[in-house]
Symmetry: none
Subunit: 77 residues, 2 copies
Amino acid sequence: MLFKFRPDRPRWVQVAEVIRDRIEAGDYGPGQPIPSEPAMVREFGIARTTARKATAWLREEGLIYTVPSLGSFVHGG
Amino acid sequence: MLFKFRPDRPRWVQVAEVIRDRIEAGDYGPGQPIPSEPAMVREFGIARTTARKATAWLREEGLIYTVPSLGSFVHGG
DNA sequence: AGATATTTGTTCGTATGTATC
DNA sequence: GGATACATACGAACAAATATC
């Protein structure tokens, strides 16, 4: 079942908020990976460019860090 | 420092002129790439659609050619 | 050593909607 | 109405690094 987007805000914002909430809930612990871009594409039914915008926002917020070719990980590990 | 646009002409024209001048000055040699669309977005502080209009104009002028997924390059290499 | 799969980085192509002049 | 300009969002392709088999 794909994520239900609201029409009032951009999709990349809503995806970023879901991931952020999961991080704060402890679903992804410190040093552990968040869903990869292809995983977000599958789970939310979005384009990769949209997944990348969500990831970039989480990175700018300081919640995650990204290692090329490996993935993005929660800070604090 | 972002480019200072004049209000009298379209932005895409002014961007195209800057790139054209650089090509004629030899900043980008034959066969070498001009700034990508994302690079123009960063350098000039414009939208991608505006960068694309500038690139399209340079292409129609015969100054460059574009290879999808790779970039745009100065003619004559 | 070699081949394959995964992931991020980057690019262009296209379309839609909104706003402004 | 038309041209300009922005943001969003889809898709496709290529590249490079990493990990695994």
